[in-house]
Amino acid sequence: MSETPVLKIEKLNLEIGPKPILRDINVTVRPGTVHAIVGESGSGKSMTALTAMRLLPHGAKPSGAIHFQQRNLLTLSEPEMCALRGDDIGMVFQEPMTALNPVKTIGEQVAEGIRWHEGATRSDAEDRARHLLDRVGLPEKQFPLDRYPHELSGGQRQRVVIAIACALKPKLLIADEPTTALDVVLQKQILDLLRLLVDEDGMGMILISHDLGVVADMADDLTVLRDGTIQEAGSAVDVLHHQRHAYTRQLAEASTHVPGWENRKAPRSDVPLLLLENVGKDYPGRRTGLFSTAEPFRAVDQVSFAIPEGRSVGLVGRSGCGKSTLARMILALDKPTSGSINLHGIDTAKASGTEMESLRRDMQVVFQDPYGSFNPRRTVEWLVSEPLHTLPDAPSRSERRERVLEALKEVGMTKDALGRYPHEFSGGQRQRLAIARAIITRPKLIVADEPVSALDVSIRSQILDLFAVLNDHLKIAFLFITHDLTVARAITHEVMVMDAGKIVEHGPAGEVLHHPETPAARALVDAAPDLQQTIKVRMSAAG
């Protein structure tokens, strides 16, 4: 094919202040195709997109050339760029929740670009906005133009952002991690929509992503970035199939990593450690009028299950299905409206003070965000030893330190971490520290809420390995809460699928993830990006 490329980035270098961000970047985007740029955090993939849009922060100095419609974008004046943005180049961002102006209706926001670029009348622009919203899957009946962003969910808001970006049939669409903030089912829907727009309008698209599974499914061409330089580039199927470059191989392996895990076969013990019986949680309904209230919202509905000692159980489901509410109740941070939660046969809602302390000792937690899970003003020693508070006799200072050191050793950290503060550590190291804090009381159960989803793939595989080791050596039972099926596949014996507050499917991990029976479970499994499977399908399609 010899069609002229939509966009050609040549020898792009970028510095912000004295710091080099990008070096010698070359990217060509062909019309009607998707060119994916993948990399881990700090690779410069988003900066490449912002450079093409000329929306860089102050003090950024790009050099080289970005050819678009026979012009070099880097030499255009600001008014010339304004004429291109939103008209010939559209952009979709990562965070749909904050990407729309909260005080303007979605109709106004979609119509604005049309009116601005084409001088269309208000009613004309609104007609076209209506049509666009229909096209991105927001039909008039449920989504009239006068809706405000806060009345829409994250996935719906991302559709509005896409409608804005594609309002004037751009030649180039730049999508910067457009689905990272969404759950897998929504991710699939948004990606399908983007693909449809590319095919129908023949535009070129740059897809920025950290997820090789997504890229394998979407991309025609692929560029792999690391530390601001290109590692490998070429046709997506080719690059991902052959994995010639060491870094590409490393990324691919990390994203399908399965830890070596001695206890992979579920331990025989059937002594129930955690037992939930008909647990429910209602939230009072919103007030809808002066004296009327909506029906209470049932976040968790009649949930019953047991976790035996040493067993690793995954709890998967879409965002908003109630899995985090359930986790909070298990951790006794929130009281169930009905039913009972027992640990060691003690009802957590009725436990006495000392019973509660022993329950807390046996049950610890690891959260998603490695940055938010530590008080920034305390040292590692203080933070990791915090759960020791639940011991019946306060340990002495040296005893305390001894136990912290032991926990640090178990998670692969050294003693010089003791006096340092959380911000001195990387995301992966912080997650290790969070795990050290969780195991310091030798708990029987760790509830891990999306413990690896904020981490880069290479770090993610190391943390999964660590969880496997802890299960092998310390016989800790896990409840992994995740929307990411690869995590569930890698590190659980059993999987439960949650949907609209109910557990709809529960069984051995392999069975549930390969032969889902309920529609909710099937939707999750079908939507989950699967690198190896996708490459296989695309290779055979290409012949």
């Binding site: 849009m53 929306l55 600001e78 008014p79 304004c82 004429a83 291109l84 943005r85 939103g86 008209d87 559209g90 952009m91 961002f93 965070e95 904050t98 990407a99 729309l100 102006n101 909260p102 005080v103 303007k104 926001q109 604005e112 670009g113 601005w116 670029h117 405000y148 806060h150 009345e151 952002v161 804005i164 970006a165 919103r286 007030r287 809808t288 009028g289 002066l290």
Partner: protein, 316 residues
């Protein structure tokens, strides 16, 4: 929206009731015998008893409170002890000085501050921005009554452009009346304008960092249009809060400023009544002023709901 207004209105009424209870408690219960306080220690027991009867002080507290409250609502503010006229008349002739003064000051401060805030925010980091912000630092630090003295010295004593004080009354015509309100209004407005322009600037700069500003830029809108059409309305939300608070400051500020300029306004009335321990006047006028502040804050709440659709649909 209707439900929101009704619920806010209910809160406003409760707040007003609570405030009136506080005023009543401070002036009627704390001093022990209000009649003795008003007449002074040298008064004869007869005089005290007389006044006690006049004020119905022998009634139980709750009866006194309720009577006072019902009378207030009906528009009967009682009789001034020192002036021997209905408080209502006193208030009526003073309110036409104080309210125009506060409004004039608020208008002056707003029409200066908001453009200055927008201007400096759009030129963030330039020398103009830095110089203007340094000037506002001084504006905030200047006590308004000192600035008032300075204005009197320059414009009234030295240049003789405007009168140094007093108020001719509205019957003398609009211009002479406005002339005598001009200096006090400027004195009141200066520090408020300095604060408001800084708030406007920082709220705008903060808003300009939001994600939706980037979305608007990606639509191809030039920076100026993004500022006016997307950032400004969001930035107005904190600005409105400050304007609501400023009204309270301005009302309180009139107590001092009206003293500097010998203006016969509410502030001066309440101040003199306090000095003469005319508790009936104090009680009614303070309650009125507090009610005015609460009412203005209610209007600010409504303006919020107008500016922010999220509030309109939220019911709490």
């Amino acid at each position: 929206m209707f439900a929101y207004v009704v619920r806010r209105l209910a809160t406003v009424l409760t707040t007003m009731l609570a405030a009136s209870l506080i005023v009543f408690a401070v002036l009627q219960i704390v001093p022990g015998d209000p009649a003795r306080l008003m007449l002074g220690i040298n008064a004869t027991q007869d005089a005290v008893d007389n006044l006690r009867e006049q004020l119905n002080l022998d009634d139980p507290l709750h009866v006194r409170y309720l009577t006072w409250l019902v009378d207030m609502v009906r528009g009967d503010f009682g009789n001034s002890y020192t002036y021997s006229v209905p408080v209502r008349e006193l208030v009526a002739e003073r309110i036409i000085v104080s309210v125009p003064l506060a409004l004039l000051a608020l208008t002056l401060s707003t029409i200066v501050a908001i453009p200055v805030g927008i201007f400096t925010a759009s030129r963030h980091g330039t020398a103009t921005d830095t110089a203007t912000m340094a000037a506002t630092q001084f504006g905030i630090a200047i006590p308004n009554f000192w600035f008032a003295l300075l204005l009197v010295y320059v414009f009234a004593i030295t240049l003789r452009w405007v009168p140094a004080g007093g108020f001719p009354g509205w019957h003398e015509g609009l211009w002479p009346a406005l002339q005598s309100l001009l200096l006090p209004a400027i004195a009141l407005a200066l520090p408020q304008a300095a604060i408001l322009s800084r708030i406007t600037r920082s709220a705008l700069l903060e808003t300009l960092h939001e994600d939706y500003i980037r979305t608007a830029r990606a639509k191809g809108l030039p920076a100026r249009r993004v500022l006016w059409h997307h950032a400004l309305r969001n930035a107005m939300i904190p600005v409105l809060t400050i304007m609501g608070l400023q009204f309270a400051f301005l009302l309180a500020g009139t107590i001092i400023i009206e003293n500097v300029f010998y203006l016969p306004g509410l502030g001066r009335l309440v101040f003199q009544a306090i000095q003469q321990l005319d508790l009936i006047v104090v009680q009614s006028v303070v309650t009125l002023l507090v009610a005015a502040v609460i009412a203005v804050n209610f209007l600010v709440d409504l303006a919020y709901a107008w500016a922010d659709p999220r509030l309109r649909s939220r019911t709490r």
